[in-house]
């Protein structure tokens, strides 16, 4: 292109305008076609309160955060005067892994900007037209479908920016319509955006997907609402495997369960990591992917998971020491959730009756020895439940007016094992100190100093809501809480790696190495809890000095 007559500064300015125009065009196109490039979903807040970046001011169009792909524009688009071609391609699930190379372009955008002069105003209007048009073409509908977070689909949309566009086949051409936005022919200016798009996308079989087909559970046991304490047969005594479903959007096929459960079909939005590790191993051992209980089909997905946890932890009722509440161990986190869920099931509204969380009358975790795999940095859910004084105080008040739950642990040297027996009578007292030596659960002693986990306030007022809403809140809490920090406490001599998939750790994150000193510490905390509880109930308290 003949750029003679332009001084160097003008040339630099020219190039800047061109590159910004291409960037802006690409941003508009990717933002309304490729869900993965849309940073905040369709509801990105572009209100006036949000910061306006320098890049936003170009062409007077604020688009917000741009996809990372834009940073590489210079890499694959060296000559700014060459047309920029963007192909929009839907891909089906499984096609990537199978290496299928058949890709059908449903839209091809060609953006060419040549020698702009005195056309900045017109290019503003052109980009506005592009922005509007993006929302009127057929592909926008499937973009919106994919952007919705409530469902996963059997397809995704990717984009390609080839250096040259492969010509369409005759068949494809017949199915496509073309539209040229504008030819600014005021010499020497030429400004052009062109699109070829498929008129209809019905033949692409773009549907919501379910990762697990519905299965009939032949050994259906019953509803937990009827008898939550019912014991269930287990393949191995005292140990049950827990596979925690991991949230993975459009992830590969899940690890199959040994036995399908009625709620597994609901986990169509989560994927089981192929490297899912058992929460607890060896005798009694956990199977990596077995769901040991024929637990009755819960009304919701998370319900099933939580109920599973109830059985696994032999949870009759749960007493949690204030310190334990702030513990970041996955076991405690799950126990908290299970307890909350149990409270909801029992439809008990508990009024706060304690203002001092540290003086909660909750008993400590009762114990037998248990096997807990050493947890890694992350919990299975990639979350921590953060405790704050106020939050845990509320929680404790909630708990204190309820029955006294117990956690029972089976005896094992250094690992936590979960028994399948939910018999209440096994726990005569929450303060079974006999098995303390083998107690694996560690209670962190640095609750205040460290960045403790805390219940987010939105999880607290759930008692009065419907079960579904509560369950939804719990799921949200589990999914959105930040990952566990590396805790110095040890649960078990075994250490298992945590696998992260899209930011969600595996179930192996449950386990931490444990030392005897930690067990002793925990015992002391249990005794404190016991004292508090007994003092509240007026019973003679065994002073911790007795220990």
């Amino acid at each position: 292109m003949d750029l003679q007559g332009n001084s160097q500064p003008e040339l630099g300015k020219l190039e800047q305008i061109v590159s910004q125009f291409l960037l802006k065009s690409l941003h508009i196109i990717l933002d309304s076609r490729v869900p993965s490039c849309h940073p905040h979903g369709c509801s990105q807040d572009l209100s006036s309160a949000s910061r306006v970046r320098k890049s936003d001011k170009w062409f007077a169009l604020v688009l917000g955060d741009h996809p990372a792909a834009l940073d590489n524009l210079n890499f694959w688009h060296r000559n700014l005067m060459d047309p920029m071609i963007i192909d929009i391609i839907p891909v089906h699930e499984g096609s990537k892994s199978m290496g299928e190379s058949v890709e059908t372009v449903i839209e091809r955008w060609v953006v060419q900007y040549e020698y702009p002069r005195k056309t900045y105003k017109k290019s503003i209007i052109l980009l506005r037209a592009l922005y509007s048009q993006m929302r009127l073409l057929p592909a926008y509908k499937i973009f919106r479908q994919l952007s919705r977070s409530s469902q996963t689909y059997n397809f995704d949309i990717i984009y390609k920016v080839p250096s040259f566009g492969d010509p369409f086949s005759r068949v494809d051409k017949e199915m496509m319509e073309e539209h040229s936005f504008n030819h600014l022919e005021a010499f020497p200016v030429r400004l052009c955006i062109f699109v070829a798009y498929r008129k209809t996308l019905t033949d692409f079989n773009l549907e919501p997907s379910t990762s697990l087909p519905p299965k009939i559970i032949t050994d259906y046991v019953g509803s937990p609402n009827i008898d939550p304490l019912r014991s269930f047969p287990s393949s191995e005594k005292g140990v049950r495997a827990i596979s925690f479903p991991l949230r993975g959007v459009r992830s590969p096929s899940p690890v199959p369960f040994q036995r399908p459960r009625s709620w597994t079909s609901g986990f169509h939005r989560v994927a089981f990591s192929a490297q899912n590790q058992p929460i607890v191993g060896s005798p009694p051992s956990y199977r990596p992917s077995a769901l040991p209980y024929d637990y009755p089909s819960p009304p919701t997905d998370i319900y099933g998971l939580l109920v599973m946890m109830i059985i696994s932890f032999h949870l009759h009722s749960l007493h949690l020491h204030p310190r334990l509440l702030r513990h970041t161990s996955p076991l405690v986190i799950l126990c908290k959730h299970v307890y909350i869920h149990k409270l909801i099931l029992n439809s008990r509204y508990l009024s706060p009756n304690s203002s001092d969380p540290s003086r909660s009358s909750l008993p400590p975790l009762s114990s037998r020895s248990r096997n807990i795999e050493p947890s890694s940095e992350e919990s299975p859910y990639g979350t921590t439940i953060r405790d704050s004084k106020d939050d845990s105080g509320w929680f404790l008040r909630l708990l204190s007016s309820s029955c006294s739950p117990h956690i029972r642990f089976s005896r094992s040297s250094s690992r936590l094992s979960f028994q399948d027996d939910l018999d209440d009578n096994v726990f005569s007292s929450p303060f079974d100190v006999d098995d303390v030596d083998a107690l694996d659960i560690q209670v962190s002693h640095n609750f205040d100093g460290k960045k403790a986990s805390k219940f987010t306030s939105q999880s607290l007022p759930i008692v009065t809501k419907s079960q579904d809403v509560v369950v939804g809140v719990l799921v949200h809490m589990l999914r959105t809480a930040p990952p566990l920090r590396q805790d110095s406490c040890c649960y078990s001599s075994h250490s298992m790696k945590t696998e992260l998939e899209e930011g969600v750790p595996t179930a192996s994150g449950f386990f931490m190495p444990r030392k005897t000193a930690n067990a002793l510490e925990e015992l002391r905390s249990f005794i404190e809890m016991k004292d508090l509880l007994l003092s509240k109930s007026g019973t003679r308290v065994v002073s911790k000095d007795d220990f």
Partner: protein, 220 residues
Amino acid sequence: MNCEVCQLKELEVEHFEIGEVLRCILHTIVFHRALGLVRPKDVDLELFEITYVQCGDVELEKKIDEKIEQFISWVEKHPNKKSQICLSFYEEKKNKQPSWFSNKIERIHWEQWYISLNVAQHTKAHSSKSHHSKLAFDPAESAVEERSVRRAALEASLREVMFQIIKFANEKKDHVPPIPNREGIVSFPYEITIPSSSDSAFGMDMIKRMLQSGHPTMLS
């Protein structure tokens, strides 16, 4: 300066569809002519599967909503009438030649968009006395079916109008004046003209506008 005029395709709408249709069209036009710093806001129509873009200007939204309400009131008083709403952009210039109807500040319209609506009456489904009770549901069903057909046709027409706006706004740009140095997202002053109470008022408005644009020869 010439004034570009765009006559949009006429739409047949029902009373309850007026608001959505007008809002969609008016905002789309302004989005292409608001050359201030715009934070685009995608809006999904409730009645149709169409997404249009607003500028994110609260004042503009208010003004458009007010005008739509006024128009709906007018339609209720003048049923079964074709009507036009005019969205025009203008420049303000000092009038060098004062005339009878014009004041010192003159409005030079450089672009006008005419939105033509044919507001249909509600079709009530009822059975006439001559029909048996078994046939009572047929008129209702056919009315529902007719409505859905009409709705689909209106959606297609509205989509056509949107494409028409984008095309016109993008192709006709030479007449767009320089961006004035004024605050606000909608960089150019604009006005939305709806039919007035009297039947001939709309025509009078047109005459007024012509006079204000400074064509003294009209008076002779």
